[in-house]
Amino acid sequence: MPSNKSLSDAPITQFVNCRILKDHRLQREDLWVREGKILNPEKLFFDEEGFADHKIDCGNKIIAPGFIDVQLNGGYGIDFSQASDDIIGGVALVAKKILEHGVTSFCPTLVTSPTVIYHKVIPEIRVQDGGPEGAGVLGLHLEGPFISKEKKGAHPAQFLRTFNAGVVADLMETYGHLENVAMVTLAPELANSGAAIRELAGRGITVSVGHSMADLSQAEEAVQNGASFITHLFNAMLPFHHRDPGIVGLLTSDRIPPGQTVYYGMIADGIHTHPAALRIAHRAHPAGLVLVTDAVTAMGLPPGRHTLGQQQIDIQGLHAYVAGTTTLSGSIATMDMCVRHFREASGCTVEAALEAASLHPAQLLGMSHRKGTLEYGTDADFVVLDDTLTVRETYIAGQQVWRK
């Protein structure tokens, strides 16, 4: 072929014989990638008279945007809430391993911890792009310590905190600094939480309600102050009651400011939530469902006893418990398992299951112009899946970073 009149010398790759998730549907279209972004082939054809340098035959598999996990506490023996000697190395190890699950971006999550841990760990975990070394870090998810005593779940009681009048001072004193923080989970019934929510939201940090005894009106007020997420719906909150729906009622609340969406995390591992409850939530508010793993240190490890935060946990099969109790201590499911389970349990379409793990978390974090879709110009982070929704290949910035 004569020389390519492209605007750039960078090689162009065309993925053919595939079905891509675009405009909420799986479509028989080719996927074009150049310089780490999804390329518009029509523009390439007419404006640049360009063509592909490499064609890759996908064997009629599915291409979906890379999965985004906004609640991941660690894995493979690494616990993000521990001030180990090599925090960066620990995050990198997990980031690399989760490529196998189709996760291309994630939020390392810190559970309730003492101030000294926050001050040590937060500065070390930076926002960074993914690549062959591992999934990208979108920012930290700080789950606690401003949460409810009664709904602490597996979080250590001695490190819980409340807000004093000087909310900003509290936040800074607790966390050290808020650079590289993508999300904070707090309990909105705590006094002065409104000011905290406004402060965090004002800094572009996603605020989530969770580990809370709040009733619906307290939760609605939190949303009006800027909260936009519910941390693992149903878990660590009051159960739905028909006269006071609690936080669960946000899914169908009529007090959400227009133009705002409340997203909610679901651990679809078949353990944390009964499939019927998953279906109720999904049917009530399908656009807000965000799949999360809430995976803990033991994810990826064999059965036995391991450490999470300042506590010990027991692995038994697919279950992880606070040692010696029957309180669930996070999950050991992987994101691709969650996608498959969600689809099976809810009977939703393949597109909906894939979007719950990609588009919705990207929208939640305000990043859907770059991540979570296969729109032209967005980052070329994607996964190649077969029809059982098993991840076969993972790509970040157009480069293959893992294959089965």
Binding site: M1, K5, P41, E42, K43, F45, F46, G50, F51
Partner: protein, 277 residues
């Protein structure tokens, strides 16, 4: 002329595609000698483009040494608007085949100087050695490309303002909102198409029947510009039964009687696989 009548739209589309395929393969195009094809847009040729794509995907037809010239494009519509003819050609044809981008030519309705753009298009056709086969359709008002009633039968590529009929016919592509339909286009002239060595007109559907009648059973008339092809040495009209509804029974019977001759043009259907040099 040849008038080829098939039972329905799908058969007509397939016959037309086979004809184009045979023409290209018989020509044996190569790097030094391209086959030049004039192409239409609209709903009529969609079936034909699908078939041509199928032939390409089966390995029977290549567009590597084919140059294309589209008939027209809207003025002022952004090139990536879903209803632009650039979008149409990309989505319905170019993205599915192996044609090289620099071998495709579509008028630029956003050019700074539209007259210069039109003159340049005529020059590009001349530089390519003229058109071997110009494929076109017919409007309900008998127009070829956007040569609306009253267009000179010796016209060249130029800017045309659309007739009300055409704007109304196109409204369905713009959400039935007349205000959104472009009112001007760049179009090849009747004379431009007449210069092609061969012309193929696709006409399907009952709503085109009257136009077909006017084009082939009445005189050459600038109010029905497709009638100009009565004076072209090599024109083939391909239509379905519905498009013949306004023709005389005698005309239809005559040409149907010739189908065994016409079919020799498409059977056997050739394949590039048979020409491995």
């Amino acid at each position: 002329m040849r008038l080829v009548i098939l039972d329905d739209y799908d058969l007509a589309s397939e016959w037309a595609a086979k004809y184009i395929r045979n023409r290209i393969i018989q020509f044996k195009p190569s790097a030094g000698r391209y086959f030049t094809l004039g192409l239409p847009t609209g709903s009529t040729p969609l079936g034909c483009y699908k078939k041509l794509t199928e032939y390409h995907k089966n390995g029977d037809l290549s567009f590597k040494y084919v140059k294309t010239f589209n008939m027209d494009e809207y003025v002022g519509l952004p090139r990536d608007h879903p209803e632009s003819y650039h979008s149409y050609m990309w989505n319905n044809f170019f993205k599915h085949i192996d044609i090289e981008p620099q071998n495709t030519h579509i008028l630029d309705g956003n050019a700074r100087d539209l007259q210069v753009e039109c003159a340049a298009f005529e020059q590009k056709i001349a530089a390519a050695g003229g058109i071997d086969l110009f494929v076109g359709g017919i409007g309900p008002d008998g127009h070829i490309a956007f040569n609306e009633p009253g267009s000179s039968l010796v016209s060249r590529t130029r800017v045309k303002t659309l007739a009300k009929d055409t704007i109304v016919a196109n409204a369905r592509f713009f959400g039935n909102d007349l205000s959104k339909v472009p009112t001007m286009t760049l179009t090849v002239g009747v004379g431009t198409v007449m210069d092609a060595r061969e012309v193929m007109i696709l006409i399907t559907g009952a709503h085109k029947a009257f136009a077909l009648y006017k084009a082939i059973e009445e005189g050459v008339n600038h109010m029905w510009t497709v009638s100009a092809f009565q004076q072209h040495p090599r024109t083939i009209f391909i239509c379905d039964e519905d498009a013949t509804l306004e023709l005389r029974v005698k005309t239809v019977k005559y040409f149907k009687g010739l189908m065994h001759v016409h079919n020799q043009l498409v059977e056997p259907t050739l394949s590039v696989k048979d020409y491995t040099d």
